[in-house]
């Protein structure tokens, strides 16, 4: 069901943890839906020099969190903003269709963290927040993506 890459990032997730003096923190999702992703960034001269995450969720949520942090590490904030869920999924050699929404969560977490950073440095975030208010991946956003399944 999952690719080897997904299983690798699920069992050995990269960049797990917190950054206590982070310059940017983004949290999306909620416990009721069964997935929360929190991402921390250390930013120097517009470059993401370090990033860590904490995720509550299924294997694909953990794997996409791990991959997303790998993809943005060392990149500029602007480059990180371009990170799409599609890119995360491709880097993981794909996700089952029912799990693609988990990758949206990773993209949104990155965006939410950057909104946090922009606010701190006094940059206008209205356009960005229109795209994502930090909780787009609510349960209703996933609705109808799954088929029902029984044992």
């Amino acid at each position: 069901m999952y690719s080897e890459k997904v299983m690798d990032h699920f069992t050995n997730p990269r960049n797990v943890g917190e950054i206590p003096d982070a310059d940017a923190v983004g949290e999306v999702g909620n416990a009721k839906c069964g997935d929360i992703m929190k991402i921390y960034m250390k930013i120097e001269d517009g470059i993401i020099v370090d990033t860590k995450f904490q995720t509550f969720g299924c294997a694909s949520a953990i794997a996409t969190s791990s991959m997303a942090t790998e993809l943005i590490k060392g990149k500029s904030v602007e480059e990180a903003l371009e990170l799409s869920n599609k890119a995360v999924v491709e880097a993981l050699d794909g996700l089952p269709p029912a799990k693609v929404h988990c990758s949206v969560l990773a993209e949104e977490a990155v965006k939410a963290a950057i909104v946090d950073y922009y606010k701190k440095i006094g940059k206008d975030t209205t356009e960005l927040e229109k795209q994502c208010n930090g909780c787009c991946a609510s349960c209703s956003a996933h609705e109808h993506e799954h088929a029902t399944h029984e044992e």
Partner: protein, 397 residues
Amino acid sequence: MSHEQKNRFVYADNAATTSVHPVVLAKMMPLFGEVLGNPSSLHAKGREAKKYIDDARSKIAGILGCEAKEIYFTGCGSESDNWAIKGAVKAYLDRHDKDTCHVITTKIEHHAVLHTCKALEKQGIKVTYLPVDENAMVNPDDVVKAIQEDTALVAIMYANNEVGTVEPIKEITKRVKEVNEKILVFTDAVQAVGHLPINVKDLGVDMLAFSGHKFRAPKGVGGLYVKSGVVVKTLIEGGGQEKGKRGGTENMPGIVGMAEALAIANEEMQDDNARLAMLRDDLIRRLLEIPHSRLTGHPTKRLPGTASFTFEYIEGESLLLMLDMMGICASTGSACSSKSLEPSHVLLAMGLPHEIAHGSLRLTLSHETTQADVDYIVESVKKVIERLREISPLGRQ
């Protein structure tokens, strides 16, 4: 992960399905070869096959405490559920020349029952889905209170497949019949037959469903007890098999296997259950040492092999896959694993909030489970939960 752990394998998902008993398999093998006849054929080979089915029917009837003619074979537990419910409702509507009636069931039924009831609702049938308490127990008073003038059927499971709670079917049946003896009582006993002593006459139910693969017969064969005199409309029309009640050439080897498996289960039940309950309780006690864990289902009135839990701050599919990598097969009611949006309807009906229901784990033991297996499960679950909680942003406050 150490080498030793990698090689260890523990199958703890026996509520999903069981292995076929070797004696059952041996009994079935010739039935795929020499005993090739169609039980409906008049010739020698047909009669031979028919005899096998008749003997299996008598054997099962003897164990369940009814007459052979009250046992019907089906393709699976789901078919038995569908047939009992749709067949009883249709019979009621025909008899009363009506186009609606009322059915009472519960919120914790298997989807084979729940979705059947939902489908009936779309056709205008009224359905009451009874709540359960925090242990997934149905209150017989609630059943009685739900009865209406035109209640045709009460459908309540004998034992729950997710949390193992055993329902008071005998009392429920007695209470329903006291109000109106014409109301039919059906119980989905798929998780109970072969695991708990069951006598249909003692229970007083009108219909009871069972499925072979839950008690070491092969997959794809089930049965329905229908008390004589009770009318259920035919679901599968065909060539007159099962006294015209269920069309389709019988799965003769499966039926014979199911009878044999039930006989073995019945024979070994007492010893097996005492041993299973000991292992189960050891597993429960030790997994509840994990902080923020809870047992789901009734603490004592539960299936002997079923241990079910929730662990806060983690998600069930992650837990399941990590255990899988350690060689442990288990099950979860989390939303992500079920591919539906919602976590287990059973856990929600028990009043657990979504965030807790996402972290559920079911371990179902069998005759094969050893103390060493239980030790390995405990050690592995503890390790995995600690690991997942390290990754999780929750539960740190």
